[in-house]
């Protein structure tokens, strides 16, 4: 996911950020415009197409009956996958998910799983024998930075709109997937000595470290992931946590 950038552009962006400004006119903590469309795919049991600025992502949910894991016989199964398909960016390659796609999927999965967003205990059909298995798959369509938050939003919105297809499988009536809360992730990157929220592609290119923080409805922390080859100080971490709570609450209002 790296491209060559001219030094003059890099220096200009760095200088702006040090002054508290960004090339696209945003302040350091501004999130780009969010557009969410749900129920866009009839063949899926839940779906959402999300735009975060110029980054675009689609997520679909498939819910099918299956066998529970032996150690959790009465609990439904929830898995999240992500693919960075070549359509979305010239640097994305065809083939099985690479380490970037795997990290993306696992960070989104952690936020959804650890927040208890989906009430997996309510997904039991016959205890020990049959449970609903809920597969969330995320595809990047157009990549302009911050896939973590775009993918999280798409997955959360797709799950929120999902229906358990009881009638299709002769397992009772169709009913909405039981949702308990909305986990929202906020990603920041470090550029120079500053942290900027919701980086676009160019900003990611000049950043050294990345931190994604997922909060629940109460503003408690449910998942975090530091990435990138740089470091963050304890003070910077503290700032990120404050912003994740504040910005998370704002976004929750938009999609709630």
């Amino acid at each position: 996911m790296t491209e060559i950038m001219s030094e003059i552009k890099r220096d200009h962006m760095m200088k702006l950020i040090a002054e508290g400004k960004r090339l696209d006119g945003r302040g350091l903590t501004d999130v780009r415009n969010i557009e969410v469309l749900t129920d866009v795919i009839e063949s899926a049991d839940g779906s959402a197409r999300v735009k975060l600025g110029k980054t675009e992502v689609i997520a679909g949910v498939k819910i099918i009956p299956g066998t529970p894991f032996p150690d959790t016989p009465n609990i439904g199964v929830l898995t999240t996958g992500a693919e960075l398909i070549p359509m979305a960016h010239p640097t994305f390659e065809a083939g099985p998910p690479g380490e970037d796609a795997i990290e993306l999927a696992r960070v989104v999965d952690r936020g959804i799983r650890e927040s208890g967003m989906v009430d997996v205990e309510a997904l039991c059909i016959v205890p020990g024998e049959e449970v609903w298995m809920c597969f969330v798959d995320i595809y990047a369509l157009d990549y302009d930075g911050n896939l973590f938050d775009a993918a999280n939003l798409a997955a959360v919105c797709a799950l929120k709109s999902a229906t358990i297809p009881g009638e299709q499988y002769g397992k009772g009536e169709n009913k909405p997937l039981p949702i308990t809360c909305l986990p929202i992730s906020i990603t920041e990157v470090k550029v120079g000595n500053d942290l900027i929220v919701d980086p676009n592609f160019d900003e990611e290119q000049i950043s050294t470290a990345r931190l994604t923080v997922t909060t629940d409805d109460n503003g408690n922390f449910r998942a975090m992931q530091k990435g990138g080859r740089g470091s963050i100080t304890l003070d910077e971490l503290s700032l990120c946590l404050d912003r994740a709570v504040e910005k998370g609450a704002e976004i929750r209002k938009i999609i709630g």
Binding site: R113, R222, L237
Partner: protein
């Protein structure tokens, strides 16, 4: 993190099932230079975790398209051996180990002076011989000792340790039961000379106050671990000096 148990993880006296207090870590053991072929190696035990790390390089970078003309890259491979967990682990990389390999590589790249070795690769292999919660921390702790043992110039040696929460208590260095049945796990790695964070993950449920308390414990634990890392290297080199190498 998602399991349920009737087991009491922290008793009324604040003691944990292995007899530790909330702020106590498990016993640490670190040895440097434990393998012959590798350019550098280390063996680490954190409680029941047993981990080997080996370093090869700087050497020619494969695959070649990953070469960076301005600096070396650090390529870490974290692997759990099939017998390291109670059920047999299917050999080979899975999604979890690919993610861990990536974040450990990134953490190490911050401290290795990669700019000294353009186009090269520094390959780090972490093998988990026995797992008991905290293998990525034990693995990174071992890897940075192995890098130093290989004589690779570094800004500092990185220790890694987790904090977390079980039975509602904020704890240092979770063991397997606390990890499985607890409410949060937060592995971190720091640069001891500056307390900068190079690895941080979190899953579970923590308030801000709990998280801040946990991080403080983990940073203090990392500093203790760092002393043992240095000690292991000193022992290794005093032995080498006696042997006349």
């Amino acid at each position: 993190m998602s399991g349920h148990t009737d087991m009491v993880l922290v008793d009324e006296n604040g003691l944990r099932i292995d007899g530790r207090t909330a702020e106590q870590h498990r016993p640490f053991k670190i040895e440097a230079g434990v393998l012959n072929n590798a350019d550098g190696s280390a063996y680490v035990e954190i409680g029941k975790n047993k981990v080997l790390a080996a370093v090869y390089g700087p050497r020619e970078c494969h695959p070649r398209h990953l070469q960076d003309p301005t600096k070396a890259i650090v390529q870490c491979k974290y692997n759990m051996q099939s017998f390291s967990v109670s059920d047999r682990k299917r050999p080979g990389p899975d999604r979890r180990s690919i993610e861990i390999s990536k974040i450990i590589s990134e953490a190490l790249e911050k401290v290795v002076l990669t700019e000294l070795y353009p186009r090269a690769s520094i390959d780090v292999y972490i093998e988990i011989l026995q797992a008991n919660a905290g293998t990525r921390c034990a693995g990174l702790t071992a890897a940075s000792v192995a890098l130093a043992d290989a004589g690779i110039p570094m800004r500092d040696i990185v220790p890694a340790l987790a904090c977390g929460k079980a039975d509602g208590h904020v704890l240092l260095d979770l063991n397997k039961e606390e990890d499985n049945y607890g409410q949060a796990d937060v592995p971190i790695a720091i640069i001891p000379s500056t307390d900068e964070i190079v690895l941080l993950q979190m899953d579970g449920n923590m308030t801000r106050e709990e998280f801040d308390r946990g991080i403080k414990m983990a940073v203090a634990g990392c500093h203790e671990l760092h002393e043992l890392q240095k000690d292991a290297l000193k022992r290794r080199y005093s032995k080498k000096a006696q042997e006349g190498n």
